[in-house]
């Protein structure tokens, strides 16, 4: 199945109570397939066809506050349109799970993959997971529900996949039986439900300078805690799937590795294929694929990365006026390492521009011939 179908299948098995929807390329297959499941009577989810993504997320906030498991999907401009409410969802601590098929935000208008949509909202307070394959999308959607709803977390979660590249290309995906997914995610018990009758509550309160700071610190702590609980959730999922989902995946990385590419999402697949070919020629190269982007696994990653001399970070997004997102996280990771690694920033794949094996080879060549520059370099770019 495609990455989009895998997300829809996971959603079908989870059977959330409410799914507000609005279509946008390339996430549409997710909500279309899900709506088909509901229309054919396989699930009893209430689908709300809202008038825009802003309303979709608003409806999701209402449903989640009422104590109903809520999921949705979007991309690009849809995510951008939701922006105001993303902060409401995370600030109100509502465990909404959303699949995002990463697509470039406008302008100029582009329907193809890059990470400007999700990275553009990296500070919105949502847990962010990036998936390389359709299998990962399937597994991550299921684990995201369990992670988000954990009583010490209660934070909304985004499960990202590369638009078109992962969302529309067919792969083999191993799915669990419906009952296994249902028993893994369990019943949703939101502790502060709007509809509970034990005590009156007010949601979406006004909070003045005397309280807001502390509330946000509590939110930051929940996000930090999500990093710990992520390990527990993936371990529990691994028991039934026999697949691991570490916060970052190491490919051909050991104490002899000399050069490594750090990247996210489907680009990691291309990098791994090239690294594998180069290893056959005796080159000591590896790939680190970051899966959990928020909360970023600084400590665990530092332990591995500090001993690798030459690092290239491949970002599929610009951060105008600054350095690209993943690169800045890697610099932060190494900041307290007290080692002298060389890190080269690359931007690739903007607006769906292909990442070719030749591009990865070029990166490894530069790493191994010690060609570093403080400027961000571009791959497959027409200068």
């Amino acid at each position: 199945m495609t990455g989009g179908e895998a997300a829809a299948e996971a959603m079908r098995q989870i059977e959330p109570g409410v799914v507000p929807v609005y279509p946008i390329t390339p996430q549409t297959p997710i909500v279309e397939n899900f709506a088909f499941f509901q229309a054919s009577g396989k699930i009893k989810t209430e689908i709300i066809t809202a008038e825009s993504e802003h309303s979709v997320m608003s409806a999701a906030v209402g449903a989640a506050a009422a104590g109903v498991r809520t999921m949705t999907a979007t991309s690009s401009a849809g995510l951008a349109l939701m922006y105001e409410i993303l902060g409401v969802a995370s600030g109100m601590r509502l465990p909404i799970v959303m699949n995002v098929a990463n697509r470039a935000i406008s302008a100029p208008l582009n329907i193809h993959c890059d990470h400007s949509d999700t990275i553009g909202v990296r500070d919105a307070g949502w847990i962010q997971i990036f998936c390389e394959t359709a299998q990962e999308v399937y597994d991550s959607t299921i684990l995201a529900v369990k992670l988000a709803e954990h009583p010490e977390i209660l934070l909304p979660t985004m499960v990202n996949q590369d638009g078109f590249i992962t969302s529309h290309l067919l792969e083999n995906v191993e799915i669990l039986p419906d009952s296994a997914v249902k028993s893994f995610v369990g019943e949703y018990h939101y502790p502060y439900s709007l509809l509970s009758q034990d005590e009156s509550k007010t949601f979406g309160t006004l909070m003045l300078p005397d309280f807001l700071f502390e509330t946000k610190v509590a939110q930051a702590e929940a996000m930090r805690k999500a990093g710990e609980i992520y390990e527990e959730v993936v371990a529990e999922l691994a028991k039934i799937t026999e697949r691991e989902h570490p916060k970052f995946e190491l490919f051909q990385v050991d104490e002899n590795t000399e050069a490594v590419i750090v990247t996210m999402s489907s680009a990691a697949g291309t990098a791994k294929a090239v690294a594998q070919k180069l290893a056959k020629k005796g080159q000591k190269v590896g790939v680190i694929k970051i899966k959990l982007f928020r909360p970023f696994p600084y400590d665990e990653l530092r332990a591995i990365l500090k001993d690798i001399k030459n690092i290239a970070v491949l970002d599929r997004v610009f951060s105008f006026g600054s350095v690209p997102a993943l690169y800045s996280e890697i610099i932060q990771t190494l900041h307290h390492a007290e080692t002298s690694n060389k890190v080269q920033s690359y931007v690739f794949g903007i607006g769906g521009r292909d990442l070719r094996e030749a591009d990865i080879k070029e990166v490894y060549n530069n790493l191994q011939s010690d060609k570093f520059s403080p400027e961000t370099k571009y791959l497959n770019f027409n200068s």
Partner: protein, 88 residues
């Protein structure tokens, strides 16, 4: 505030904005000259906070200073100029 604050800023109380005495923000409050007042209820209708009341017996116009923010709309709209703004 006696309510608990739950994660997400949810509070275990409803309608508690009455405990936030916004009248404290005022630089001056409205004062009604009861003898000039013709009990037309214009000020009651115009007050954005709904804090002017004409009490039961119809004889006393009361400005609730807990919530009067001193916006002066009542003083401007009063048909007979019975309302003046007095500094606190």
């Amino acid at each position: 505030m006696k309510a608990k604050i739950l994660p997400g800023g949810i509070i275990t109380e409803g309608g508690n904005s009455v405990s936030n005495k916004t009248g404290l923000w005022a630089a001056r409050h409205a004062e009604v000259d009861q003898t000039k007042c013709i009990k037309c209820h214009t000020c009651v209708a115009y007050c954005p906070e709904g804090c002017i009341e004409i009490e039961g017996d119809g004889k006393n116009v009361r400005v609730n200073e807990d919530f009067c923010k001193g916006c002066m709309v009542c003083a401007v709209e009063c048909l007979v100029g019975a309302i003046t703004m007095k500094a606190k």
